[in-house]
Amino acid sequence: MSGTWYYIFTLIFFLFDYFILAMGLNIQYGETGILNFAYIGFVAIGAYVTGALSLPKSAGTGQYYILGFSMPFPFNLLIGGLTASAFAVVVALIALRRLRTDYLAMVLISLSLVLYDVCNNYVPLFNGADGLYNVPEPFAGVLHLNTNSFIPFFAGVTGVVALIMWFVMSRIMRSPAGRTFRAIRDDDVVAAALGKNVFRQQLKSMIIGSFYAGIGGGLIIQFSGSFNPTAWLPGETFVVFAVILVGGVGNNIGLLVGALVVETLLVHLPAFLPAIPGHPGLIEYFDAVLIGVLLMAMLWFRPQGIVPERTRKAGAFGAGERLGAEATVAGEEAVTGDEAVAPLTRSAVQPEVTGQ
């Protein structure tokens, strides 16, 4: 297969994978308002666990890692996703319960950095700075694909997974559960006053979103056959945020668009531009700067993203039109019979401002 096709299918894989990652972060941040700055950590957990499960016992392989059960695809992937979710539960119980927005963000970034530090240094866990490699190809024994055909095949598999996960996420977002998430995002005090158990809903959101993160990460390690700390510096979380904010928060089509724009800029651009002699990596650096600038520009000029959140109209619920109901207009000076109300001498009452 020519280099161009190889390249295009790699691009397609990352498009689908980032789409999955974006959906996961979207339900946490876009729908529920949880600023999960540790998101990339959950992706990494999914990747490492998926890989380590499919590898054979570490003794004798030259790598050091836990697990090593030679588990076949897709079981290892599913467990990778579930592990990320389990981790989310722990994080939610310790941090989410106690902290508001900025402080939560601080703790989550710290978590991300510490996770990175530990995985980078503690070799017996996931082979330290070298990371996992020689991860067995999925379906290797069954399909006997060579490298050339594996890439488009797995890009296709990822596409199918993305489709299924898209379907599931759509149903959730359109349901009362999604509506409750958005209510919490808009005003959690009001949501609680209306009877919603805010923490439990946030926990649900974290679990679902982290599962998506874990699956996305697991697919990466299965596609590339390797995964090491350089792939997930804590700043990578920002790239996923960029996908959501550029594409359109709360809108699945928007996420796909965002994945296309951000991921194309991230992966595409450096490969096409000639490397500047004497300055290796310069293109990548400029690229990252570009993403940062692009995001700020989007936030400023079009904060709703390229594809804005869709309003859910009454008609969508199957409610019929009510003629005559339109005639009643609220908030305007509808004249009632009691016009003879005496002008009220209200003392200049300031609404009570109390600490809440």
């Binding site: 950095l113 530090d117 650096y285 936030l299 904060p303």
Partner: protein
């Protein structure tokens, strides 16, 4: 036991670096009410400014370069706030947006550093270091100077806040920005000054971090950021003196633990303390009431 006292000495050094950076962060947070996630990169950039003056473009004495580099970072912080952060903060009610902007700023600054100085390790041009004994504690010249700088800075901040009119205005704004505005305080000017101070202290702490670590890399600031967060949260978010106390506690704890566990993880101890604080006393040591 010898090792213990040695690490106590190092602990004071780390605490000194932490104190400057934690107070710089707290000052800015108190006024603007959002965390600057690019703070670690401010530190690194300030260190690189000092490096450029000390060992690259010019060859100035390290301490002089440090002062100039820090002031340079302070000026840059003012510009960043003026043209990027303040407009976003004014426009969007929810702090989400400006937090993401600082996150993005962090990415931009980090990669600018990579572009200009590369990923290789850099070194300051330091005079020969001599070690001094203080009983069982062993400290070098630069370490002593760093501790001295930290003490001067803490005293300076204390004086600023308690004695000067500027400091009183800052404290007023930190308590209740709306009220401060209606009381005739020029909040814009105070904000600008605060960013200058915050940026300068970031540059200062970044440079001394590079001095005490012995080297300079672009990501050093970011990786240190969570230790600063730990100091700030343990001390009590919003409290300047809390930040100082937190810095001392975390500085000592990380270095002393390094004597007993694998030193590669000593900074992670800060995170453990952070989590314990969250579980036991989430408001921290010196919490400002109504802040959490």
């Amino acid at each position: 036991m010898q090792l213990f006292w040695l690490s106590v000495g190092f602990g004071f050094v780390t605490a000194s670096v932490l104190a400057i950076s934690a107070v710089g962060l707290s000052l800015q947070f108190g006024i603007t009410n959002y965390i600057n996630f690019a703070y670690g990169d401010f530190m690194a950039l300030g260190a690189y400014f000092s490096y450029a003056l000390n060992n690259e473009l010019l060859h100035i004495n390290i301490w002089l370069a440090m002062v100039c580099g820090s002031l340079g970072m302070g000026a840059l912080a003012v510009l960043v706030n003026q043209f990027i952060l303040a407009p976003f903060a004014r426009r969007f009610k929810k702090t989400f947006y400006v937090l993401i902007v600082t996150f993005g700023l962090s990415l931009i600054l980090l990669n600018l550093e990579y572009s200009l100085w590369g990923a290789d390790v850099r070194f300051f041009n330091m005079p020969l270091q001599r070690a001094h004994h203080f009983g069982p504690i062993l400290l070098t010249n630069p370490q002593l100077v760093v501790m001295g700088i930290a003490i001067i800075t803490m005293l300076g901040v204390h004086t600023l806040l308690k004695v000067t009119r500027l400091g009183k205005c800052m404290r007023a704004m930190s308590d209740n920005t709306a009220l401060a505005m209606t009381s005739g305080i020029d909040t814009k000017r105070i904000t600008t000054v605060t960013w200058f101070l915050s940026g300068t202290m970031a540059g200062l702490s970044g440079t001394v971090l590079g001095i005490t670590e012995g080297n300079l890399t672009p990501a050093a600031g970011e990786l240190f950021l969570f230790v600063i967060f730990a100091a700030v949260i343990v001390g009590g978010v919003g409290s300047i003196y809390g930040a100082m106390a937190g810095a001392l506690l975390i500085g000592l704890a990380t270095e002393v633990s390094a004597a007993y566990i694998n030193p590669a993880y000593k900074l992670d101890i800060a995170f453990v303390i952070l989590i314990l604080t969250l579980l036991i006393r989430p408001s921290g040591l010196f919490a400002r009431p109504g802040r959490v």
